[in-house]
C-alpha cells in the first residue's frame, strides 16, 4: 500500500508537470506553443505581410505627390457641398481613423450607413459596405453628389475647381474646359431640376464636366492612398514569434488566448484574413436590419451598381485598359450569396471605433462577438454563421485580442 501511495503521488506530479505546459487562464486554454500552421496563420495577419501598394491602372495620378496634395485640399474643402458646410473630412475625421463614431454619416442630411475608415483602402478591390465602387477615386465621387452627404452636383463641383484650384488642376490634368455657358447646377444624378439641366447640355459638354468630376476623385484618391495602417502590439508579437525571439512579451496571456480563438474556434480569420484583417469580399452574417430604414440588399444592389457605373475601371474616364480590370471582369454579380452581404472592414483599430456593422447596429465589440457566437438567422438571405459555443471568458479573450490591434501614438 505504501508503494502504491508513492505511485499515486508520482503519477499526480507527472500529470501536473505535463499539464503545466498548457496553462489555463480564467478557464480557457492558453497556447504557449504554436503549431507551424498556427504560426503561419499569425504571420499572414501581420503588417509585415502587407504587400506594396497595388498599382491603380485606372488612375494615372494615383502616385503623384502633387495630386495627393491637391486631393488633401479637396478632401478638406467644405465648398464642395450644397451648403458650404460639408467636406469629406466632416465624416472621415482624420484624427478619428477617418470615421465619425456615429451609426450613420451626417452630411447635409443623414445617410443610411456607417462611415467607413479609410486606412488601407488602396488595397481594396471594391469600396463601400456593398462594394458599389471599384476604386478609391470612383468611391470619392459618390458622396459629392449624394443628396444627404455633400448634396452638390457636377457643374457646381467643376466650377469650384475652376475658381479655386485651376493652377494645381491644370498642372496635373491639362486645361480645364470653358464652363461659363453651362447651368449652375446640373447632373445626371440628383434632383429633377439638375437632371433636366444636364439633359439639355451637349454630349461634349457633359463629357468635359464628367472628366473634371472624375479628376476630382482621382486627386482625392491620390491623397487617400497615403493613409496606411501603422504597426500595433500584435504586429510586434507576430514578428518576434517569426524570429523566435521572446514571443510572449508583446501580448498578455488573455490576448494570446484570444488570438488562438481568432485563428481557430472563433472562425474570425475566415473573413478577417490577411494583414488588413479583411478578405475584401462580401458576407451575410445575419446582421439585423434597422427599423425605419429602407430595405437594404447589400451586395445584391452594390454589384449591379458597380457593373453599370460610368466611372468604373472599364469606363471612359478610367485610365486602365479593360483587361486591367480583373476584379470587375471576374466579379460575381448575382446570386443568393449576395443578399445582405457586406464587406468586412479591416479590424485594425476596431476596438477604438464603436459602433459596429454597416448601420452601427451594435454599440460595443461585446455585442459584436456575442452576435457571432449566437449566429441568429439573417433578416433576408442566408447567414454564413454557425453558433460558436464560446464561453464568456472566450468572448472576453477575443475582445482582448482585438484591442491588441490598436495603433499606438
Amino acid at each position: 500500500m505504501k508503494r502504491s501511495g508513492i505511485l499515486y503521488a508520482a503519477a499526480g506530479i507527472i500529470a501536473l508537470v505535463v499539464l503545466a505546459g498548457f496553462s489555463y487562464k480564467g478557464g480557457i486554454y492558453v497556447s504557449q506553443y504554436w503549431s507551424e500552421e498556427q504560426k503561419s496563420l499569425i504571420a499572414s495577419l501581420s503588417l509585415d505581410a502587407l504587400p506594396a501598394l497595388p498599382v491603380d491602372p485606372s488612375n494615372r495620378v494615383a502616385d503623384d505627390p502633387k495630386a495627393a496634395e491637391l486631393g488633401e485640399a479637396l478632401f478638406n474643402d467644405r465648398r464642395l457641398s450644397a451648403n458650404g458646410k460639408v467636406a469629406c473630412a466632416t465624416c472621415h475625421l482624420p484624427d478619428r481613423q477617418f470615421q465619425d463614431d456615429t451609426p450613420f454619416g451626417h452630411g447635409v442630411g443623414q445617410t443610411n450607413r456607417r462611415t467607413m475608415p479609410i486606412s488601407g483602402t488602396a488595397h481594396a478591390p471594391f469600396l463601400f459596405w456593398d462594394g458599389r465602387k471599384d476604386s478609391q477615386w470612383a468611391q470619392a465621387l459618390g458622396p459629392l453628389e449624394s443628396a444627404v452627404e455633400h448634396g452638390s452636383d457636377r457643374t457646381a463641383l467643376a466650377r469650384q475647381v475652376v475658381t479655386h484650384y485651376r493652377r494645381d488642376y491644370e498642372q496635373l490634368f491639362g486645361p480645364l474646359p470653358e464652363l461659363t455657358s453651362l447651368p449652375d447646377h446640373a447632373s445626371p444624378e440628383g434632383n429633377p431640376a439638375a437632371k433636366s439641366a444636364w439633359s439639355k447640355m451637349t454630349e461634349g459638354e457633359r463629357e468635359a464636366v464628367n472628366r473634371v468630376f472624375a479628376n476630382i476623385g482621382k486627386a482625392i484618391a491620390a491623397f487617400e492612398r497615403t493613409v496606411e495602417p501603422r504597426e500595433t502590439r500584435f504586429d510586434r508579437y507576430a514578428r518576434s514569434l517569426q524570429a523566435g525571439t521572446a514571443p510572449n512579451n508583446g501580448l498578455s496571456e488573455t490576448e494570446i488566448a484570444g488570438l488562438a480563438l481568432f485563428i481557430g474556434k472563433g472562425n474570425c480569420i475566415n473573413c478577417h484574413n490577411g494583414p488588413l484583417l479583411t478578405d475584401n469580399h462580401f458576407h451575410n452574417t445575419g446582421v439585423p436590419a434597422v427599423e425605419g430604414l429602407p430595405e437594404d440588399t447589400g451586395r445584391t444592389l452594390g454589384a449591379l451598381q458597380v457593373k453599370n457605373d460610368p466611372f468604373n475601371c472599364r469606363g471612359r474616364y478610367s485610365d486602365a485598359e479593360p483587361s486591367d480590370c480583373t476584379e470587375l471582369n471576374f466579379m460575381v454579380s448575382e446570386g443568393e450569396a449576395l443578399v445582405r452581404a457586406y464587406k468586412p472592414p479591416s479590424l485594425r483599430n476596431v476596438a477604438l471605433r464603436p459602433p459596429y456593422m454597416h448601420a452601427g447596429q451594435f454599440r460595443s465589440l461585446d455585442e459584436v462577438v456575442r452576435h457571432y457566437n449566437e449566429a441568429p438567422p439573417a433578416p433576408a438571405g442566408h447567414s454564413e454563421l454557425e453558433p460558436l459555443k464560446l464561453s464568456d471568458s472566450e468572448v472576453q479573450a477575443l475582445q482582448a485580442f482585438l484591442a491588441s490591434l490598436n495603433e499606438e501614438n
Binding site: R3, S4, L7, Y8, A11, G12, I14, A15, V18, L19, F22, Y29, S35, E37, Q38, L41, S44, G264, K265, I269, N270, C271, N273, G274, D279, N280, H281, T326, E327, N329, F330, M331, V332, S333, A337, E384
Partner: protein, 150 residues
C-alpha cells in the same frame, strides 16, 4: 508486488496519461475541423467518368489568398492526346462552408495543344478549396475536381 498490485499501479499511471492524451487529441481535432483525410491534392487527375486527363498549372506556388490567379488547364484524352477546341467552364468553392468561389473565372485564351488559360480565380479564406473544370469536346462532357489547401 502481486500481479494485482502491478495492474493497479499501471492503471494509476494510465489515468493521467490518458487524460493528457485526450487533451492533445481534442486540440488536434479542433485544428483540423473535419478535413477529409484521404484528400488527393494532385494537380493531374482523371475526370469523373474517365474521359479526360486534366492538369492544372497554378501561377503561384503556393497558391495564395486574396490575389487574382491565372491558371492553365491542360486537357488530354486518356491515351494522352491533347484535346483541342474544348469548351471549358470553371467553378469551385469550399465544401466545408457550402459556398462557391468569390469570383467567376473563365477561359480567356485557347493556348493550343489542349492548353487553356483560365483567369479570375480567387480564394478569400484559408482552408480546403475545390476547383472544378467542366470540359466538353468531341470526346464528350465530363468534369474534374481539384483539391487545394490554402
Amino acid at each position: 508486488m502481486t500481479r494485482r498490485q502491478i495492474l493497479k499501479s499501471r492503471l494509476l499511471w494510465a489515468a493521467p496519461l490518458t487524460l493528457i492524451a485526450m487533451v492533445g487529441i481534442g486540440t488536434a481535432a479542433k485544428m483540423t475541423a473535419s478535413l477529409p483525410e484521404d484528400l488527393d491534392f494532385s494537380l493531374t487527375r482523371y475526370s469523373d467518368a474517365g474521359l479526360y486527363e486534366t492538369r492544372l498549372d497554378t501561377d503561384t506556388k503556393p497558391v495564395s489568398i486574396g490575389v487574382m490567379h491565372v491558371f492553365t488547364v491542360t486537357l488530354k484524352t486518356r491515351d494522352g492526346k491533347p484535346v483541342e477546341k474544348a469548351a471549358l467552364t470553371i467553378d469551385g468553392g469550399m465544401p466545408q462552408h457550402g459556398h462557391g468561389l468569390p469570383t467567376r473565372p473563365r477561359v480567356t485564351a485557347d493556348l493550343g495543344l489542349g492548353r487553356y488559360r483560365v483567369e479570375g480565380i480567387k480564394f478569400n479564406m484559408p482552408g480546403w478549396w475545390t476547383v472544378t473544370v467542366h470540359a466538353t469536346s468531341g470526346a464528350g462532357s465530363d468534369e474534374t475536381t481539384f483539391n487545394l489547401k490554402l
